[in-house]
């Protein structure tokens, strides 16, 4: 197609093209930008490899027609992201009929209509609606899982860092360090997948862009100067205390609230009287305590679900800031 209204001249090298694409995507979701840069680089490098006789500038000029100029590509990714987000979003409880085919490119209008029917919900409905929000359970599961992943990430970073740094006096330390830095990047993607699946925060699906025109020594150098490497390690170290805290909060609150809710059942089935014990003396005995216990348990349970969802959102934001940076 035609490519008029190009504000800027076409780039002549692949890093320049990617730089323009990044500039054109400024302000968009960083995770999406990372994916877009990865896709573009794959296409450009493949095209360059297919046509060995032609120069980089020539190939890019041809690509502007087939793949798109940076501005056009940015526009396409912005549009697709909006459409896909609408299509993949789970319909919220109490909102219009919005079940959509999982793969749908032209569904923007249907979902826009569904979103328009959304009506403001009462405070009570919002309080209890948390039960129907899949992200609540995702967050709850993430809180339980984070103990395991937190311990693993922390151990990996501390072991890897101390092992490779102390081995640096021998020559074997260098490959060990490089392997370790590479593994941190892979783990960062893995954690991103977990977070996107459980907490619903968009995270990158492709590794971050690296400038391949530089020599391998320069690329190793950028691994150290790249803020992402260190922020990712900081995140992994932070995951230990956070994971322990999340796990403790989730298990404590869940077991307390469930115990309160099912206390009358224990009374009936297992002869465990409901009551408030102080120094082994039941100071509040009697049937009136049954409904009180159940109601208190339910309120605590719903509070726990709200807390889990809030922690999920907060943690998603933290992860996005530490793991995804351009």
């Amino acid at each position: 197609m035609n490519n008029e209204n190009n504000a800027r001249p076409l780039p002549t090298t692949i890093p320049e093209y990617l730089e323009q694409l990044r500039a054109a995507l400024a302000g968009a979701d960083p995770a999406m930008i990372q994916d877009a840069l990865y896709d573009a680089e794959e296409y450009l490098r493949s095209e360059l490899a297919e046509q060995p006789g032609r120069g980089e500038a020539e190939v890019i000029a041809g690509v502007a027609g087939s793949y798109g100029a940076p501005e056009e590509v940015a526009e396409i990714y912005r549009e697709t992201e909006v459409t896909v987000n609408r299509a993949l979003r789970t319909p919220l409880p109490g909102r219009g009929p919005a079940p959509l085919p999982p793969v749908a490119a032209g569904v923007a209008t249907a979902t826009a209509a569904a979103a328009a029917t959304a009506k403001p919900r009462s405070t009570v409905a919002r309080f209890f609606g948390v039960v129907l929000d899949p992200h609540t359970y995702g967050a709850l599961f993430y809180m339980l899982l984070s103990l395991v992943t937190g311990v693993f990430f922390f151990t990996w970073v501390v072991t890897g860092l101390s092992l490779s740094v102390s081995l640096l006096i021998l020559i074997v330390g260098i490959p060990v360090l490089l392997l370790f830095l590479g593994s941190v990047r892979v783990l960062s993607l893995v954690e991103g997948r977990i977070i996107e699946a459980l907490l619903g925060v968009r995270m990158p699906r492709r590794p971050a862009y690296t400038d391949r025109s530089q020599g391998w020594l320069a690329r190793i150098g950028t691994m150290f100067t790249d803020g992402r490497t260190w922020l990712t390690m900081l995140y992994f170290v932070l995951m230990l205390p956070l994971g322990v805290a999340y796990f403790s909060i989730a298990t404590t609150l869940l077991s307390t609230s469930l115990a309160l809710v099912f206390a009358p059942v224990a009374d009936v089935l297992f002869d465990q009287p409901v009551g408030v014990w102080i120094d082994g003396v039941n100071v509040a005995d009697g049937f009136w305590l049954w409904p009180v216990s159940v109601v208190a348990g339910l309120v605590l349970l719903f509070g726990t679900l709200h807390l889990a969802r809030a922690i999920g959102r907060l943690h998603g934001a933290v992860a996005k800031h530490l793991l995804v940076r351009l």
Binding site: E42, S46, A49, S66, E81, G106
Partner: protein, 121 residues
């Protein structure tokens, strides 16, 4: 004049938005081996004869979505030329979906043709 052209472009965009998933599934169903994004784009450009070739950058997000929907499977292989490539392969569910989509497409095409019949050109 420019107005007509803009409308034509908008129409072409909407058409390709509706059909690109079908085209991608078909390309991968015909392929004997897993393909990566660039090869899929080129294959579509070659056989689609330019009609489906809107900007090829639009294909990558759709490939990711098809994979997310469980219709494609993928693996990564390192490459000499650039970043590691993600190779896509259609799975059984993808083939089943493709069969249904082809039927839906045929029905759409037939009914559209009968509607368009007799229109003066």
């Amino acid at each position: 004049m420019g107005d007509f052209e803009a409308q034509l472009r908008k129409f072409q965009k909407e058409l390709s938005a509706g059909t690109v998933s079908l085209a991608l599934l078909a390309v991968l169903a015909k392929a004997r081996e897993p393909l990566y994004g660039y090869l899929i784009a080129k294959e579509l450009e070659r056989t689609g004869d330019g009609v489906l070739s809107g900007k090829q950058s639009a294909l990558y997000p759709v490939l990711r979505n098809l994979e997310g929907a469980g219709l494609l499977e993928s693996h990564v292989e390192p490459s000499v030329a650039g970043p590691p490539r993600r190779y896509y392969r259609i799975n059984d569910e993808g083939r089943a979906v493709l069969t249904q989509w082809i039927a839906a497409w045929n029905a759409t095409r037939d009914s559209l043709e009968s509607v368009l019949e007799g229109v003066e050109r």
